[in-house]
């Protein structure tokens, strides 16, 4: 009887773990597709400044992403390429392609509450974290994501609420290695683009005392999935070529 109970507990834990991994995989599949093009509006608010940006992004798989800034005019034409966790940028004013060194990876990306590191590692939840179901309430599942042992990641833990009806995120809370909350990302307004559901509004609020009053709002204006994005977008030549 005791053995049977233990086996049942073990099996249910295993099933729960499998469910968590499956949810994450389905979430990433929904968000990413084979490839995805998106047009994004960003509003960045800090204590003294606020500004908005319009960017275009092309992504393929987990490791390839190309981003181009459309506005403001001062930043127009600046392009970014993320390849295999490395990042390059092209600045038309000085006509230079610059690789972001590791020492700059934790710097803010374009003044947002994202870091350069976030931009590079944004899509490695499945590979870098072990997921566990914490709570199920209707279609909303709360997952705890703990970094895998052999992976170097910034976060100590991520607690993510996922709507399994659409396989979209509802809320992510990021913790540091000491278990202290660092930032919260809230998602809203689910919209269907082709066969994919996308939360079109994302708000990032940092908890750090030094960043109190900061807020980054991201609005997905357009998204196109599985259109067959040319591989030419994901080379260093593209940085200059698609800058115009």
């Amino acid at each position: 009887m005791k053995k049977l109970l233990l086996t049942l507990i073990f099996l249910s834990t295993l099933l729960f773990a499998q469910t968590a991994q499956t949810i994450i995989k389905k979430l990433e599949k929904n968000l990413r597709g084979t490839d995805v093009y998106s047009k994004i509006e960003m509003q960045i608010k800090t204590k003294r400044h606020s500004r908005s940006m319009l960017i275009e992004s092309w992504g393929k798989g987990k490791k390839k992403n190309f981003t181009k800034i459309l506005s403001p005019s001062r930043d127009r034409g600046i392009t970014f390429l993320n390849l295999d966790k490395q990042m390059w940028q092209y600045i038309p004013k000085i006509e230079r392609i610059v690789k972001i060194p590791p020492s700059m990876m934790l710097q803010s990306w374009m003044g947002t509450d994202f870091t350069n590191d976030d931009m590079v590692k944004q899509s490695s939840l499945v590979d870098d974290y072990k997921a566990k179901v914490l709570e199920k309430r209707g279609s909303i599942v709360t997952l705890e994501l703990i970094p895998r042992r052999d992976v170097a990641v910034v976060w100590g833990k991520i607690v993510s609420k996922i709507d399994t009806k659409y396989y979209t995120q509802v809320e992510d809370i990021f913790y540091d290695d000491d278990g202290k909350k660092v930032r919260k990302m809230s998602y809203s307004k689910v919209k269907k683009f082709g066969s994919h559901f996308v939360t079109t509004i994302m708000v990032i609020v940092p908890f750090e005392k030094s960043k109190q009053g900061n807020k980054t709002t991201i609005k997905i204006v357009d998204a196109k999935f599985d259109q067959g994005i040319e591989s030419s977008y994901f080379s260093k030549q593209a940085l200059k070529r698609y800058s115009r």
Binding site: I69, R74, K93, V98, I100, Q107, S108, M110
Partner: protein, 405 residues
């Protein structure tokens, strides 16, 4: 009593000389050791202050804890106007510091790029004096960059080469420019030389959209000893949201590190003193043990126990005072001499550059008060060392003492 004590010192010359030289050596070593320790600390601190930090800085109140574009100083001209005419201020200048990427075809390095007023800066810091190659920045410079020697080496650039600057403007939009290396500086502060570059602030402000803004205003004062009173006075002249911080606050971590270093220095010296203490005590004990018969006789002749104790204390006092005084004079002379003519250890700055050593010179610090308290410690040690031997002699009655073998 005095002449008797003197006679005893001369009569027991072996013990007296040993105690005298041990005490002299202790005083001399203590004074010289502390002079070198304080001297090297003072020198490191002074180098850091003179090279870049300055005597005091004026900034937005949250900047020190959270240096960002949201906490930089706005209305610099207004603040500078309030500094005009304040007694004790030698010069002041605004700086705009920005952590940015400097990039060449060879490499990209995250660096601290700072906009400075070249003329005013030369009155405050040693940036101009630290020129290693090329030239210092000029008032009319635009895309000219003055770069640290180790940073230049990392980027593999020389005079005339282009360096791309990629950073964020004050409003967090992109700022980028191709700068030409016009000069290379070498202060000797390794971290500083490996990560700092300077440009003309008037042009930098156009690039960074930072007109009339600064990370802070650096101020040089005429008398560094008067810095705290000047800080207090400037603070009264400034609005509530402005902080005025002296070098003690700005360099708190360095000051603390030096205090910790001093504590370890005193601990190691303390161990030496423990040995000295026991040697003096043992010598004193042996000497007094051999004199118990004599001391008993003195008691039998009518001297009270207190008189004998006073005699022994007087002997110690004469020996200790003379030896400590000579030790202090000799140590003081050495401290004074090496303050004026520091010892030069070739290659030391290169070997210990990571620790902020910028010079091969090892100066001492001559400070009369320090020498006095150092001497006082050795003096007290001498008196403490004689307590037990005296206590031992007091155990004997005059008759017992006279029969003592």
């Amino acid at each position: 009593m005095f002449s008797l004590a003197l006679k005893n010192i001369i009569y027991y010359k072996g013990r007296s000389l040993t105690t005298f030289f041990l005490s002299l050596l202790s005083a001399l070593l203590f004074v010289v050791y502390v002079a070198f320790m304080d001297g090297s600390h003072k020198s490191m601190l002074k180098n850091s202050l003179d090279i870049y930090t300055g005597s005091l800085q004026i900034m937005y109140k949250e900047y020190r804890e959270n240096p960002s574009y949201d906490t930089i100083l706005e209305g610099v001209k207004r603040v500078e106007k309030r500094l005009e005419g304040i007694a004790g201020i030698k010069a002041y200048s605004a700086r705009l510091e920005s952590y940015a990427l400097l990039s060449t075809q060879e490499d990209s390095v995250g660096s601290m790029v700072t906009g400075i007023n070249p003329q005013k800066e030369s009155q405050i810091s040693k940036l101009k004096e630290a020129l290693h190659q090329g030239r210092y920045l000029e008032k009319s410079d635009t895309t000219a960059i003055y770069i640290g020697a180790d940073l230049a080496q990392r980027l593999k650039v020389k005079i005339g080469d282009k360096v791309a600057f990629v950073g964020s403007s004050i409003d967090y939009s992109f700022s980028a420019e191709n700068f030409e290396v016009v000069g290379v500086f070498k202060t000797g502060l390794f971290e500083f030389d490996a990560s700092s570059a300077f440009v003309n602030k008037s042009y930098f402000d156009e690039l960074m959209l930072s007109e009339d803004m600064a990370s802070y205003i650096v101020v040089a004062v005429g008398d560094i000893e008067a810095v705290e009173s000047i800080v207090s006075y400037i603070q009264t002249k400034m609005p509530q949201d402005i902080e005025v911080a002296s070098w003690r606050v700005l360099m708190a971590s360095m000051v603390q590190a030096m205090e910790v270093d001093s504590i370890f220095g005193y601990i190691s010296l303390g161990l030496f003193f423990v040995v000295i203490f026991f040697v003096i005590m043992i010598y004193g004990f042996i000497n007094i043990s051999t004199r118990i018969k004599e001391l008993g006789l003195l008691r039998a002749l009518g001297l009270r126990s207190g008189d004998v104790t006073a005699l022994l204390f007087l002997e110690t006092a004469l020996l200790a005072l003379s030896s400590v005084l000579i030790g202090m004079v000799l140590g003081g002379y050495l401290a004074y001499y090496f303050e004026l003519h520091p010892i030069i250890i070739e290659g030391m700055a290169e070997t210990y550059k990571e620790y902020g050593i910028v010079s091969d010179a090892v100066p001492t610090r001559f400070d009369l008060w320090t020498i006095c308290w150092n001497g006082a410690v050795v003096l007290v040690l001498n008196f403490l060392a004689i307590i037990y031997p005296i206590y031992y002699t007091r155990q004997f009655s005059p008759v017992e003492a006279m029969r003592h073998v």
